[in-house]
């Protein structure tokens, strides 16, 4: 009896020693997530095709007009659409994806294996990063091709781009993970997540230049990260005189970083409080 217990303990210890590391598993999750995403033609069309097509359409309809001296409406739309694109890959796709995994039992299945939760989330980070970078590159290319968008030359603007990109996608991804708990079925995940996201894009100045958005709608938009991400992207891609179009008359970098930071903290708390590996049904 003592012998079998000892043997069992040795077996267990060996198992513990040779468990694959969380880093390796996170990389494996990331690789499989990215592979599965790019094979899903619907998701690719939806995530990459829709913002590009909308940008071309909106830009072509309003593009001829100048928003201000030296600023075209096409440039305004491109900067806003880059922010919307970041949110579509980090918030919308992530929330729908996790909700679907939860409702189809994939999350429960993973939680029944020895994979650590950190590796699962690391895989999501890799997938979101790859898709968000690809989305941004694509929209910048569309903007350059159609609307005289110029990638910034000063390092200061690239620094702004980097922190708006990182803080914005982190805030959106964290709220996306939290929002994944709202849909009650895999079938309802897409409409439940996409409807509020679409409304938010209107009130945040993505589909309509922010200075054309009615005041009260803009106030609602100002509560959420997307309005600030779009403003940050305008400060990167528009000439300096574009700041005159902003409600404050300046780019408000400090306030942008603050709002995104608050959303990151709020998103983390929401995730920790609401994340579940199993469906409630």
């Amino acid at each position: 009896m003592t012998e079998t217990t000892a043997e069992g303990r040795i077996q267990r210890d060996q198992a513990a020693v040779s468990l694959p590391s969380a880093w390796r598993l996170g990389a494996a999750r990331g690789a499989i997530e990215v592979k599965a995403f790019f094979r899903d033609k619907m998701a690719v069309a939806f995530i990459f095709g829709l913002p590009s097509i909308l940008l071309v359409l909106l830009g072509s309809i309003f593009g001829g007009q100048a928003a201000a001296r030296g600023v075209t409406v096409g440039q305004l739309f491109t900067a806003g659409m880059i922010a919307g694109g970041i949110m579509s890959t980090s918030f919308q796709y992530l929330a729908i994806g996790i909700a679907t995994e939860r409702e189809t039992g994939m999350l429960k299945r993973l939680s029944g294996t020895p994979i650590p939760p950190t590796a699962y989330f690391a895989g999501k980070v890799v997938q979101v990063l790859v898709c968000t970078v690809a989305e941004t590159v694509l929209l910048v290319a569309v903007g350059m091709l159609f609307y005289h968008l110029h990638p910034p030359t000063e390092p200061g603007r690239w620094w702004t781009f980097a922190w708006v990109f990182v803080l914005g996608s982190a805030a959106c991804a964290l709220t996306g993970i939290a929002a994944s708990s709202v849909p009650r079925s895999a079938a309802s995940a897409t409409p439940v997540i996409t409807l509020p996201f679409t409304v938010l894009q209107f009130v945040s100045g993505v589909y309509v230049p922010f200075n054309d958005v009615p005041r009260w709608m803009g106030d609602v938009g100002s509560v959420f990260p997307l309005k600030w991400m779009a403003q940050g992207m305008r400060s990167v891609f528009l000439p300096e005189q574009g700041a005159a179009l902003e409600p404050a008359g300046t780019w408000e970098h400090g306030r942008t970083a603050l709002v995104l930071g608050v959303w990151i903290v709020a998103g983390l708390v929401l995730c920790a409080k609401t994340f579940r590996w199993q469906s409630r049904n």
């Binding site: 009896m1 079998t4 217990t5 069992g8 267990r12 060996q14 198992a15 513990a16 040779s18 468990l19 694959p20 390796r24 598993l25 494996a28 499989i32 592979k35 599965a36 094979r39 899903d40 409702e103 189809t104 039992g105 994939m106 429960k108 299945r109 939680s111 029944g112 294996t113 020895p114 994979i115 650590p116 939760p117 950190t118 895999a186 199993q278």
Partner: protein, 300 residues
Amino acid sequence: MDNGAAVMVRDLRKSYRDINAVAGLDLDISTGEVFALLGPNGAGKTTTVEILEGFRRRDQGTVSVLGHDPGRAGGGGRAGRAWRARIGIVLQLASAGPELTVLEMVAHFAGFYPRPRRPGEVIDLVGLTAKAGSRISKLSGGQTRRLDVALGIVGRPELLFLDEPTTGFDPEARRQFWELIRTLRGDGTTILLTTHYLDEAEALADRIAVIAAGRIVAEGDPETLGGRSAAAARVSWDAPEGERRTLQTSTPTRTVAELARQFGGEVPGLTVTRPTLEDIYLDLISATEKAADTTDGERS
């Protein structure tokens, strides 16, 4: 053979609002045996199994699975990972999974474990070799269930949980699946099987427990469960007047000998039967339901 307990449960209790799903359940499963848990829907089968798997919290009782309390080891910590590496859970995926092939998915899951089976070998074992390169979304229902099984056994578990594994299988697929269970048992895997099919339990299980109203109402090997071997035999024959006669007796041989004398040789339409596992099971379930009705009656 190591005969230590793989699973030990004492006085397990779990209720949802005012429903007692599990009401004082005891269970012992020895290492290396195939144990079948039978019971009607709502008897507490799934709740019990999910507590053992570490998916659900219990209200009360002692639970040990491979020497660990799943309520603690079920978490994401390092001890939890080592414990999870030793158990296998076959879950049903509600619909098509990600856009991956069968081989990619099995190989991905194999990477979670310290000493997995080779993915090709597992795919072979569940009979999906011809589909190894197919997308999961293109599999039929039965093929998807086989993939579920493959993902449950790829980590070479010491203890395997199978919750109604053959629901939706055609008869041939079921037979193949039974062979797979026998192979796993031959490798020393302890298996906890819940099923609706009594023939499946009879064919596979070393021991069977019947659960009703959150408690084990009978336990034993398939031949003797619920007093099956000692139960009265039924002797039936065609009487000379043309009607069929049936006699319940504990001495069927003597009855047949007497009949043979009466008829002076062959007894027309003679059958001697003992209750099937299904008869025993249905008796047990209806006895529990009657008992519940009586208590309800007393209460109101």
